[in-house]
């Protein structure tokens, strides 16, 4: 397992509020990693920084085999390198069909002119159909995405991530608002994806994390509090103190 993404010494503050504080983290390829932490631990900012939405004050982010620095790159360039992101709220293009949503995400040249003159290929169609099957939406390909249920939108968004053929997947609370059955399926999708690429899942739901059965990183006040298996970190007294106790009470 080689290191795909390496964050070191990342700090970011907003008007004196230290959102991320000297954070260092490594993700291998392939790997499935769960990131947990109480509200305000910096989980979303952490993702914002990797995907280029927020510029860190200090620190380095290196990605890929040639250790490219991601700092200063635009969101779209970072995404083109193979980093896909799913947002907390499902964000799909509701006016367009499921097929169109997936087609837009398919790994293809991204320039305006290549897109303008783009013609459908057999390979592309096949890949699209297999992803649709994976996310259980084969029967809904022609429907506008806005008509889908909440869980289906979540899947569609995960499907769009898969269609990007990414090397690193950042998934923010994928199970939020899903039924137990849907969660199970989501777990399977993520686990399968993690066989070929790195997947980082930010999640509140401990049961979901347990089912992922992977290495867990606990964030607290913008830095790593503990790292290891779920059993390992849940036994850590500091973690119990700052996070688990409160979350149990809160949820």
């Amino acid at each position: 397992m080689t290191s795909l993404l390496e964050l070191s010494g990342i700090s970011k503050s907003f008007d004196g509020f230290q959102a991320i504080n000297n954070l260092s983290l490594q993700i291998g390829e392939p790997e499935l990693r769960a990131v947990i932490g109480p509200n305000g631990a910096g989980k979303t900012t952490f993702m914002d920084i990797i995907t280029g939405k927020t510029k860190p004050d200090t620190g380095t982010i290196l990605f890929g085999d040639d250790n490219r620095s991601l700092i200063g790159m635009s969101e779209s360039d970072i995404a083109s390198l193979g980093i896909g992101r799913k947002f907390q709220k499902p964000t799909v293009f509701e006016a367009q069909t499921v097929r169109e949503n997936l087609a837009m995400a398919l790994k293809n040249p991204r320039g305006p002119f290549s897109v303008l003159f783009y013609r459908k290929t057999k390979d592309g169609a096949a890949r699209l159909d297999s992803i649709a099957e994976e996310i259980n939406l084969t029967d809904h390909l022609q429907r506008p995405a806005g008509e889908l249920s909440h869980g289906q939108k979540q899947w569609l968004e995960i499907g769009m991530l898969l269609a990007q053929s990414p090397r690193l997947l950042l998934v923010d609370e994928p199970a939020a608002g899903m039924t137990a059955h849907e969660r199970e399926h989501t777990t399977d999708i993520l686990k399968r994806a993690a066989q070929t690429c790195a997947v980082i899942v930010v999640e509140h739901d401990m049961e979901f994390v347990r089912r992922l059965n992977c290495k867990v990183t606990v964030l607290h006040e913008g830095s790593v509090l503990a790292e290891g298996s779920l059993d390992h970190v849940t036994k850590n007294p500091t973690v119990i103190d700052v996070y688990l106790g409160r979350t149990d009470a809160g949820h």
């Binding site: 360039d77 995404a79 293009f93 002119f113 303008l116 783009y118 022609q142």
Partner: protein, 389 residues
């Protein structure tokens, strides 16, 4: 899975539109004074031709706003630039002919310098100058001026769009910025030393050099046909663009720009592409419009014109090309009907509503109502009818 695979199959409205436009064009041509039928006056043929040009810029506006979500309040500036570019040649070439005629009577044949001075005097006398500004360097070359119809709006849109999109100016900020650009341009043109005759603008554009022998009845039909052809081509172009995968991307940008960025698309390039190509089409529409109008002056470019453009598209229905055509045609024709005194005044006893005065009030309020209650415009009603049947 995918049943409708051909372009027309996916976009039946394109076919309907082209057929309707073709029939309309044929009908008007046959009934015009040029064929001797004379059922439609030459001036009304011009009005219809101008309306077609307005429809062309309206579909451009629809693509940039209705599809891509950029509410540009500057596209009429590109329209005006197109008009000025062709107007310079029309005015120069025609003045050259007039000057040549008047100098021909002289005993001593004129030198090139004398001819050029006389033309300069004719054109720039109204702003107290007789020298040709640098802007007019190619005014005697039709082909270069025609190229400028496309290049100047295109380059301006490219530079302006690049500046605005790269610094992520979006939404209402961008609208205001485009409005500012339009205001700056019209203020510049209002200056006497702008090289474009200040607020006099360019005039006499309806006289096409080389076609002095053809009457306005023939010229008007020629421009009407050209406008119809341009509208048809523009409609096809934009229908093709919006039908392509690029169409999906720009609609996605309209709905959630940030998400598109995280899919790896360089959103700025797409916006720039749409902004520039629609600006070019707007320039072409302007180049066809002003020879029919006969005169262009800076007031035409004022920010208000671009806002009216948005009004047309909104009333017609955003996000559908035929909606923009309906809106532009309906509102601009109604507008000339009301303000031209065509509409009967309403006598309320104590007060007579004169539409010349009250039309803008009606339009403004209608527009508010459309925005509130029919955000999809007339095109939206159309869609409902189609879905019911």
């Amino acid at each position: 899975m995918e049943k409708r695979t051909t372009f027309i199959g996916r976009n039946p409205s394109v076919l309907y539109f082209l057929v309707a436009l073709g029939l309309f064009t044929a009908l008007v041509t046959v009934m015009s004074e040029a064929t001797g039928a004379g059922l439609i006056s030459t001036s009304f043929v011009k009005t219809l031709g101008k309306t077609l040009c307005l429809c062309l810029i309206a579909i451009a506006m629809d693509v940039v706003w209705g599809y891509c979500g950029i509410l540009s309040l500057g596209h009429f500036a590109f329209f005006g630039i197109g008009g000025y570019a062709i107007g310079m040649w029309l005015m120069y070439a025609r003045t050259e002919i007039i000057v040549a005629d008047s100098l021909a009577g002289q005993v001593i044949p004129p030198t090139p310098q004398e001819i050029s001075d006389a033309i300069g005097n004719q054109i720039f006398g109204v702003v107290g100058s007789s020298d040709f500004p640098l802007l007019w360097a190619f005014a005697d070359h039709l082909w270069i001026q025609l190229a400028m119809v496309v290049l100047v709006p295109g380059l301006l849109a490219l530079v302006f769009g690049w500046l605005a999109f790269r610094s992520r100016v979006t939404g209402v900020y961008l609208s205001i910025l485009t409005q500012a650009m339009t205001l700056a341009l019209s203020l510049y043109l209002f200056q006497n030393d702008s090289g474009l005759r200040g607020n006099n603008g360019l005039s006499g554009l309806q006289n096409i050099p080389g076609f002095e022998d053809s009457g306005q009845d023939v010229v008007s039909v020629a421009f009407f046909l050209a406008s119809a052809a341009a509208l048809a081509l523009g409609y096809l172009l934009f229908a093709w663009i919006t039908d392509s995968k690029l169409g999906n991307i720009i609609e996605a940008i309209r709905d959630d720009e940030a998400r598109v960025r995280f899919l790896g698309y360089h959103v700025e390039s797409y916006k720039l592409f749409v902004f520039t190509i629609t600006a070019i089409v707007a320039g072409i529409a302007g180049a066809l419009y002003y020879p029919q109008a006969g005169i262009i002056n800076p007031a035409e470019i004022a920010p208000i014109a671009s806002i009216y453009l948005a009004v047309w598209v909104a009333i017609g229905g955003r996000g559908r090309l035929y909606g923009a055509v309906i809106g532009a045609a309906l509102v601009s024709l109604l507008s000339s009907w009301f303000t031209g005194g065509g509409a009967p005044n309403i006598d309320l006893g104590v007060y007579t509503i004169q539409w010349v005065d009250w039309w803008l009030v009606l339009l403004g309020l209608t527009f508010v109502l459309v925005t509130l209650f029919a955000p999809k415009g007339i095109g939206g009603l159309f869609d409902k009818l189609v879905r019911k049947s």
